[in-house]
Amino acid sequence: MAVLIDHTNYTQYLKQSTQGRAGSPDGNVYFDTATGTIELISVEELATFDHTSMGGGASDPNQLTNADGITMRALYLFESQEREADETLRTFKRGTGGKYKGAGAYSFINGTKLDSTVDDRKKIRSSGFVEYADVGDGETAVDRIYHGVTSVSNVDAGSAPYYVFAADDAEATLQAATTWAEFNRSGEVDEVVQVFGTTANGDTGAGDFDYTDDLLIVRLRTWGNLPDEATSDLSKIKKFDGFKGGYGVRDRVNPKNTFTLADVYGGAQVSPWTGMSLEKLATPQTETGFNEADGDFTWVLHNTEGGTALECAAYLDALAMQDADIDVGAGTYNGWKGREWYVCNDDEKVQTVELSGEGLFIEGLSSAEKLNVVLTDDAGDTKTYPFYSGVEINVGAAAKGDANAWYHVYYVDGAAGADFDTASAVVVNDSGGNPVKGVCSSADGNNIISFTYDYDGNTQAGLSAGVDKDVVVEVESYGANSIEPKITYFTITRSETISVLCDPPLDPNA
């Protein structure tokens, strides 16, 4: 079983090879004194070697793997061990140095490099390091700096964490940044990323850049999990150097997203996601009907097939994973580099996010689903919908089939005598302010007449908003083969669905 080679086990698992990877290596560390490079020869290149000198077998497996790697502390101690035993090696300058072992702060000195032909730097774990040029004392002129990035919470093995260096975390900055990259390995993060490079000292592969004063953002966006993000600011790292830092990015299951990605996004989309698209409007649109004041929104999620709040959230999850333009409008917006579009708030509602003065509105939600969202407008103000009770009156097949049949809903007991069975009776209005009356033939295929009621806002008949209301529905008709008159009393409560039965039979006396 492969292990991380560190200061506790390096004596068992590391062996100096007499030849490099280009030849016939017989150990997993090769000090190439001719070129000033150190080769870390992993099991992928050398499956076994003779471990008898370290107390093992003659053909034990190579424990150095690409996945588990080696710490700089182990390599540093191993070089010291070898230089003690190998006098020939002493004739050359040391290759590794250490600054502060607890922080994983090490260095390659005197121009020494890890072999770049297979990029052995990717095998370094739980460490950072500086590569010094072979000039002067060999520990002053810097060629490269690698910062060790370590996740300190769970990251699923299949997740692909990624990062960016940027001057700040402004949305425009991140959209324009060119340093976005996935980490070399999936799952938990434990590898080095280059934060400085200069070719001034002859290291032609070092590049010329300096991110040491930048912000490092580490992200996780895995389907079915909550998105997460950690930054060097949050880790209190204000300047990068050759040390490691812990980042609190982690995977957590998103219990609200149980959908299949292929259904939600891509060529095999199914309804309602086939009716969804995200657009940044040239001019913010004003939305109304909230408990609060009207709001302006720059971003809008079109939802033409009536997806639920959670289905909309799943679509936004999918968009946030796309390293591509996700804006169907005139502009360009990269989803992978972009914002998290929503959060699940304490009430477990989908709350859209405002960023850079741009909020997100979700269209096409049903009355019931509107209660499951909080929308944040361009000003950062949250908008909620009033509670609409949903009333479903089953008028029955006979009434639906009777062309003359009608329904009418009244308050039973209004204030100041505005009661049913008086001249002051008040017709109930729906949430749109329309009286609840009409013909039964308009019922749906299940003979249901449905309407929504502004429970928190309706003050008709002198009754207070936000309280239960007793109402009555009449279903009647006339003529030959018409229905019997029927009357049903019920109460409008703070419920998403109130089922009422008022289903008269055919009138045997008509």
């Binding site: 009418h408 009244y410 006339y478 008159p485 009357i487």
Partner: protein
């Protein structure tokens, strides 16, 4: 129904009164009053504010293919007010109120020249009561008298019952 020549002149939901047109000498409780009432509730939305004034009962198909006897029930004090004219008004069919203590379906108060009203039930079985409670059956006629003795002659012919607002007459031909 008789929409083209309606018997109902108007409905006062608050007073629960159904006013009849003048010039009518006969009407049927179901095919006229009930049918027109349903039509008016459909076409005049103001009338829907009121709890239903009448209800038809019976009429269901029996196993032998015949329909059960139908009758109209006046709900919650509803009464019919005929036109104030001196005519004989024949009301056809069975009529009940939902007040066992007051089964008379008409309100004649305030009429100066109230019509003579004949309640005619073409059905075999008729039940109603006014001053006196009367039951007349085809094969087994029973008469219950509360306030005064009544003499009744019975033969096998179809019974016909007539009641006015002044004197109770039960004639069996």
């Amino acid at each position: 129904m008789s929409v083209s020549s309606p018997v109902i002149a108007s409905i006062d939901g608050e007073a629960r009164r159904i006013y009849l047109n003048c010039g009518i000498d006969a009407f049927d409780w179901l095919t006229d009053v009930y049918a027109e009432y349903k039509y008016l509730r459909t076409t005049v939305e103001e009338l829907r504010k009121w709890y239903p004034l009448v209800r038809a009962k019976g009429g269901e198909l029996k196993e032998n293919g015949e329909r059960r006897e139908s009758y109209l029930v006046m709900i919650d004090g509803t009464r019919v007010v005929p036109c104030d004219e001196e005519v004989t008004l024949t009301a056809i069919g069975e009529i009940l109120t939902d007040n066992p203590g007051d089964q008379y379906p008409f309100d004649l108060t305030g009429l100066i020249t109230p019509p003579t009203i004949r309640l005619v039930n073409p059905n075999v079985q008729v039940r109603y009561s006014c001053v006196t409670s009367v039951e007349v059956m085809a094969d087994d006629i029973e008469i219950e008298v509360e306030d005064a003795p009544v003499e009744v002659e019975v033969d096998d012919t179809e019974p016909e019952v007539e009641i006015t607002n002044e004197v109770i007459n039960v004639e069996v031909k």
